[in-house]
Assembly symmetry: C2
Homo-oligomer: 313 residues x 2
């Protein structure tokens, strides 16, 4: 008997079939089938209660839709099937958030808030306000997924990247890596700071008055991580005193930022309401993540963002 | 007699010695000396009348400070020394202007004008406004220095680049190249358009009402080339009708944009007063250009942006 052609890997989509995800499955080398016939399930729902109570025995891998999966553990879904491969969407949205942070920084350096407020042609005045990221030193505090995704963007415009992480281990593309215990000294020798670190007791008010004092009047501070990493009152003071150039905040403390807060109206504060990774953009990023994991599943390679059912994350 | 160590190449700076340029000369492998002892002259002045009437016989190369050198020909300076190597600053500022165009596009796609106008936390509303350049198709019309410098920036955030040029010759990094005679069809299949073409009779109103009609309600049009390439009245109409997402204009028609013009106050119009390449930024970019040419001069390689004294450019 001669060997038959290999059948495409059979992938089910739930809770419903979505065109973006179906395309991603096909791009990855799979075929979309009903759950009963599938080897893998891509579940794009966020509510564990809607997840199938039983899975067919043919299923070997389940791809979930969120980066954090605590609620899937809490609901007992993952532990019900400890022998399956489970993957999350961790990392899938890093590039989206990084693009947002990069936009805030570029907009600041190129004086877009002041340009947008202008209603008359003031070229000479703006000549003195427009800067460049070319040759600028940018600290990325927290070189996880978001920070790493930002590095090729920054180097594409000629910035020099100083990554700050806990281990001091090399970060691909960074010009320099500094360990987190030396983060304060970094403020004294960079032009701009991007905060992309996790929120912990250690990172609370990582950017406060002493750190802001080390920056310059053209420095921008960007935060796309968690509000409490930056001391809001210290930022307001630094903006009022023109100690720094400006801030771009996708996260705030308190959050939501209350009506009437000075950050809404201070000239060089750009506030975006924690929308760096909106649902519309998330769909495309998740589809790319699924396509890559399907390709790996078909090829028998290790999957991205694998969940450890024992460890609980 | 044993051979002596090679002497550093001797470069003079004029009209005065500037630290940035002196550093660039040293970085390129040269040594800053007085004009009388120099093999090359880097002249950072813009007025041909101030250029030395006589040059020492030791001079073999002169680097000028501007991208266009018509006024240096008009003043007869270059033709007085037809046997020297002359170089301009052509290309030195492309990356600076490209960074500005890229900033305008990213700011538009991420809804920064509307964010900056907000004074209350409206996350759900902004979820529907924030987009991404990841996977977006961006046409660059005019793939000269500025257009080419933009390509690595766009690809770093995952955009798909369609370059439009006259020859249809491949453009490094572009996903597709379309010849200029087919430019209109490009508007029907891209998300955003960046205008970076030279101003000629053929390119006047290259972006007009028929072209804008082919774009979508989330499309941004960026112009960093010359004002008349874009039909201003058509843009105003398209913005009022929400036919396009917005415009980012560093050049306008008329220019300067008069007080009271609707583009100053229409919500998604970002106007910057032809300041994409301000003197402050230009100095660093020119120094990089000088450093590279000094390196090439020292190494005996062809110089960048060589002027043809016979041809007159």
């Amino acid at each position: 008997m001669t060997s038959s052609h290999a059948q495409p890997t059979r992938i089910a989509l739930g809770p419903e079939v979505d065109d973006l995800l179906a395309d991603a499955v096909v791009r990855g080398g799979g075929q979309v089938v009903d759950l009963a016939d599938a080897e893998a399930l891509v579940w794009a729902g966020d509510d564990p209660a809607r997840f199938p109570a039983e899975l067919p025995e043919s299923i070997r891998w389940v791809q979930l839709h969120s980066a954090g999966v605590e609620h899937w553990f809490d609901a007992g879904v993952i532990r019900r099937h400890p022998d399956l491969l489970w993957t999350s969407a961790a990392g899938a949205f890093s590039a989206t958030v990084a693009e947002h942070a990069f936009t805030l920084l570029l907009a600041g350096v190129r004086a877009l808030p002041e340009h947008l407020a202008a209603t008359t042609w003031r070229q000479r005045e703006f000549f003195a306000k427009v800067g460049t990221l070319r040759g600028a030193r940018v600290a990325i505090i927290g070189a996880g997924g978001i920070g790493r995704a930002m590095i090729p963007m920054l180097t594409a415009v000629g910035a020099v990247v100083i990554a700050v992480n806990r281990s001091g281990r090399p970060v691909p593309g960074a010009d320099e890596v500094v360990t987190a215990d030396r983060v304060d000294e970094v403020f004294g020798r960079v032009d701009h700071v991007v905060v992309a670190a996790p929120a912990t007791a250690d990172t609370r008010h990582l950017v406060g008055a002493p750190q802001l004092a080390k920056l310059g009047p053209r420095s921008w501070v960007i935060n796309v991580a968690r509000g409490p990493l930056v001391d809001t009152d210290a930022v307001v003071d630094a903006l009022r005193d023109k100690q720094i150039g400006g801030v771009g905040l996708d996260v705030t403390d308190p959050e939501p930022l209350p009506d009437g807060h000075p950050l809404w109206t201070l000239p060089n504060a750009i506030v975006t309401p924690h929308d760096s990774n909106p649902p519309s953009v998330r769909a495309g990023a998740f589809a790319d993540h699924v396509g890559e994991n399907v390709r790996r599943f078909v090829a028998g390679e290790d999957l991205v963002a694998r969940i450890d059912p024992e460890a609980g994350y």
